[in-house]
Amino acid sequence: MTDTAVFIFIGLIAGPLLGGLVSGLDRIVTARLQSRIGPPLWQPFYDVVKLWGKEKTVVNVWQAFCAYCYVAATSIALVLFFLKSDLLLILFTQAVGAVFLVVGALASTSPFSQVGAHRELLQILSYEPLLVFVAVGIYLETGSFKIAGLDTWNEPLLMKLPFLFVVLGYALTIKLRKSPFDLSTSHHAHQELVKGLLTDYSGPFLALTEIGHWYETVLMLGFCSLFWANNWIAMMVLILTTYFLEVLIDNVSARMNWRWMLGYVWAMGLTLSVVNLIWLYVG
């Protein structure tokens, strides 16, 4: 019982803390790749605290409600992850959060917000099947959707599911809002949609969406860690390498349109998934 409480506590704290640090590191590495110095490591925390202290303005009350629901759903998903719960349950909880963010954006009449929300829906449509395939792959290998047995699994999953790890990489790139998939909104300054999905979230509610995004980031990196769960050092190396590759891809690629995203991600992702699943089944 106390163990459960401790894990819930760790899940709630780890999300914002690790997520913020990852985001700070991301900004520094990005700046270095562009031969700039970049902001301090704590910058994302300053941003969120500042936004928290700003005036509350909402276009529509539902937007505030949706921002709270987004944080609630993503934090519950991460807590479930730390409790080593069911993979499918975690995925669906996280999807509920993602949809609430879209509903909040649709609650405003701003065209930027509307178009951003529609693009975000297409992004969700692109990566959700891939995440389910990853879960199915883990099930076929271990015989369970539970995460609980993975840290003592005799062989790292990466050896058996290498293609599914690449597929998870696609989902990760979309989820972290990295180029070439940062259609709905992006961390970078200007774009044709102003700030897309997040245009009409402002002040404390923008801070909430940022915290929710941190929870999601940690959750997605958590999924990556499952692929080498029996060795701490290898797990850390795997996560850091993956994240560095994400930042690199973000910096070397341009934003593409949604047609390309949907076609490319489904064609590559579904093919790689099916190949890997057949390999597992036959092998």
């Binding site: 700046a31 562009q34 700039r36 970049g38 300053y46 500042k50 300054a189 200007h190 700030k195």
Partner: protein
């Protein structure tokens, strides 16, 4: 304590909104130059946002005329408090060489209250960065609850 933290965060993370009233683009190029690796204002946590609802500081360049006045007021009113206004370049300060023109109202301070004036034609990137950091002190000086206002 939390108030102090928020105040510190405000100084550490000012997000800029840049509006060109009707400038010759000289000052605008200098504003954008601040974002380049040479000046790299992201060192100070400054981000150039395109959305007034996310911005803390409004950078205005160029003279205000009867058309851009409405846009300027609209942008200013959309920014949530606390906010600052920095006028950049001679035109934004007083109307510059265009001040006598029939369609020109004058400087930015004819429309909204300006916190920092940055001189120059065009203003140097160093001067702009200096002006913004000078303006940040206003965040710590301004009393809680006191709002910036339009004229």
């Amino acid at each position: 304590m939390f108030k102090k933290l928020i105040q510190k965060a405000r100084v550490k993370s000012p997000w800029l909104l840049h509006y060109d009233c009707s400038s010759c683009n000289g000052c605008d190029i200098e504003v954008l130059a601040c974002l380049t690796p040479v000046y790299d204002i992201e060192r100070f946590g400054i981000i150039n946002v395109g959305n007034p609802m996310h911005a803390d500081i409004l950078l205005v360049t160029g003279t205000v005329n009867y058309r851009s006045r409405k846009v300027l007021l609209n942008l200013f009113n959309q920014m949530p408090d606390p906010k600052l206004v920095v006028a950049i370049g001679t035109c934004a300060l007083s109307g510059g060489i265009f001040r006598e023109a029939y369609n020109v109202i004058g400087g930015v301070d004819k429309v909204i209250a300006v916190d920092v004036y940055v001189t120059g034609c065009p203003a140097k990137p160093e001067a702009i960065i200096d002006g913004v950091t000078l303006g940040l002190n206003r965040f710590t000086q301004r009393k809680e609850g006191k709002k910036a206002h339009a004229r």
